[in-house]
């Protein structure tokens, strides 16, 4: 019976009860806001620093810029032109776009096969792909480098500079594929069976089913993986470090910034502007496509 007595106040709130609620919940608000601030401040500090004049940065902490307004865009000008960061930004894009589109295409095709086209050892192969998601990149670096050297993939060919990127495109494709196949197959398999059977009855080929039915119905899943892979490649340091070593003019931003750090150590005006240029792309992707991004991350929690 005591349970009933206690249940009543939940629905009927008086002013004093609301006050008690507010007081008891104050620690929650305090804790949450404190952590959110701790999590935001370092990034905000870097962003503010990148708009401050070099002599101000050296003299005072970035928090002083909130009271003495003295902003400049000069740091971005110098970091883009003088240190080649603009060029590196373009390299990042040249590396990232094909390294996203390739695994997306190959992965979607394979996922369709695994979901809707029976073939021998299909289940065993799929389990193998799940296992491959965890394989550390480190186990493949040396043999891949050797392979790309043997195939002369790591140097420009026919006067085409972009040829140097073929190796890193392939490596990213290979390491993005297991997740692509896993994610997309799990999504494709939830598509209505009747729809696909009906199309088969009408004499549609598998390729036609894939192009006309499966792909148009799976845009959210394709977008989730596409965004995940895009950010993965854009943010990658290790593969670029290994596969584009010795070609500074091909280096993406993630490689160029540590180099900047070792040469200009304490010049935070350049470093902060460079880091902000590197961050801005993921941030735009994150804020404009947040829903797909979080979905992709949740689904990708099996990969690291």
């Amino acid at each position: 019976m005591a349970t009933v007595d206690q249940a009543v106040p939940i629905s009927a709130q008086t002013r004093s009860e609301r006050l008690i609620r507010l007081i008891t919940r104050t620690p929650i608000h305090f804790g949450l806001i404190a952590i959110a601030v701790i999590w935001l401040v370092p990034t905000v500090g870097l962003a503010i620093t990148s708009f401050r004049k070099p002599n101000n940065i050296a003299a005072t902490g970035w928090w002083h810029a909130l009271t003495q307004w003295d902003w400049t865009l000069h740091n971005y000008g110098s970091v883009i032109h003088a240190t080649g960061m603009g060029h590196a930004w373009v390299n990042s894009l040249i590396i990232t776009l094909p390294a996203t589109i390739l695994p997306l295409t190959l992965g979607a095709l394979a996922a369709f096969g695994f979901a809707w086209v029976p073939f021998p050892f299909r289940d065993t192969l799929f389990l193998a792909i799940i296992a491959l998601m965890i394989v550390p990149i480190q186990t493949s670096l040396v043999p891949l480098l050797k392979l790309f050297r043997d195939w002369h993939l790591n140097s420009p060919h026919f006067g085409i500079g972009a040829f140097s990127f073929v190796g890193i495109w392939l490596a990213h494709t290979a390491f993005g594929l297991p997740l692509a196949v896993f994610l997309l197959r799990n999504f494709f398999i939830t598509l209505p069976k009747d729809l696909i059977e009906a199309a088969r009855m009408d004499g549609a080929s598998n390729l036609a089913i894939f192009r006309r039915i499966v792909v148009p119905l799976s845009v959210p899943a394709l977008a989730s993986f596409g965004i995940f892979q895009f950010l993965w490649v854009w943010n990658d340091l290790l593969m670029a470090l290994v596969f584009l070593a010795g070609q500074p003019d091909k280096a993406p931003m993630t490689v160029r910034i540590p180099y900047l750090l070792s040469t200009y150590g304490q010049e935070y005006n350049l470093l902060s502007a460079a880091a902000f240029l590197l961050m801005i792309v993921p941030l735009i992707v994150f804020f404009s496509l947040q829903r797909y991004f979080v979905q992709g991350l949740l689904a990708g929690s099996v990969k690291t």
Binding site: V117, A131, T139, S140, L170, N235, P258, A275
Partner: protein
């Protein structure tokens, strides 16, 4: 088969064959063109575990005096550093992430809090490294951390946070926790929202306190997502490389090296000594062995899920 074959060929050629080659190379010295040169048997592994203080130095390790080891970190090499990473990175990421997930659903500004904490997740480790180098800057006028402590205590001498062997690992670990907590929070918060509201209401009506609801209802129902996240964090910490490369390059000296950093260093940088690339390959094999249980776990989990559906 036709649909899957391009992907299978790429995986076979660029993931499976290289892994096989690396395992073989680990038993050789190897030359600078990465050929299987000069068979050594298990020597690379033996050297790594007994004869390389940068990788494992049991003489400096406080051993099973765990409290002493955790409080006064030993200079036990990359492997011991990685053990500290596992302990601190996993426990703090989980505690903070779970706490945030549980508390954030109770306030109206949930979305804003979550966005603030999730943003670092989108940023590359290179940018995270620069951000935190700036926070840890030894200059009390520009380094936020030193400035804050100085604000509380005027007699405080600024510390070079990432310049001290005893502190550097924890500074790196905290920066990486900062970058990963958003993921833990988002996964667990999605799981909390999946708990049927009736169960929670019923418990409240029965007079259960908030703590009991968390301990006896939420926590057991979250055990699967928590285990998924733990596995993710573990694999992540075995592979951690970028942030260390950017912030300290394994230094000062070799005091912030971890397994993945040793692999890179021994394979691509260490040309001066007699160790060939086979030595780095042995480190890669150790990494593979460490994550292998996770592979088995994932495959098992997938199989059992399919039996249910």
């Amino acid at each position: 088969m036709l649909f899957a074959s391009p992907a299978l060929i790429v995986l076979g050629l660029f993931v499976i064959y290289p892994a096989y080659y690396t395992i073989r190379l680990a038993f050789y010295q190897g030359d600078f063109n990465f050929h299987l040169f000069h068979y050594l048997g298990l020597k690379n592994f033996k050297d790594l575990l007994t004869n390389d203080p940068d990788f494992l130095d049991t003489s400096k390790f406080h051993g099973f005096n765990i409290v002493k080891e955790l409080v006064y970190k030993s200079d036990g090499g990359a492997l011991i550093n990685n053990v500290h990473w596992v302990i601190f990175y996993l426990s703090f990421s989980l505690i903070i992430g779970l706490g945030l997930a549980v508390l954030a659903v109770r306030v109206r500004y949930e979305r804003a809090v979550k966005t603030a904490i999730f943003v670092p997740m989108a940023i590359s480790a290179t940018a995270v490294g620069i951000i935190w180098l700036f926070v840890y800057s030894p200059n009390p006028d520009t380094g936020l951390l030193n400035a804050i402590i100085h604000g509380f205590d005027n007699g405080f001498h600024p510390i070079a946070w990432v310049g001290r062997p005893s502190l550097v690992n924890y500074c790196l670990i905290f920066a990486y926790i900062w970058a990963s907590v958003g993921f833990v929070m988002v996964v667990l918060s999605a799981a909390i929202k999946g708990i049927p509201a009736e169960i929670m209401e019923a418990a409240r009506v029965d007079g259960a306190g908030e703590w009991n609801i968390f301990r006896r209802i939420m926590f057991p129902m979250l055990s699967l997502p928590i285990s998924v996240v733990t596995v993710w964090l573990f694999v992540n910490v075995i592979k951690v490389f970028d942030i260390i490369y950017v912030m300290t390059s394994g230094g000062p000296g070799t005091s912030s090296r971890v397994i993945a950093f040793t692999m890179y260093e021994e394979t691509f940088q260490n040309f001066s000594n007699t160790r060939g690339p086979g030595y780095g390959a042995a480190v890669a094999v150790i990494m593979l062995v460490l994550v292998a249980p996770v592979m088995v776990l994932n495959v098992r989990r997938f199989r059992s899920e399919r039996v249910v559906t």
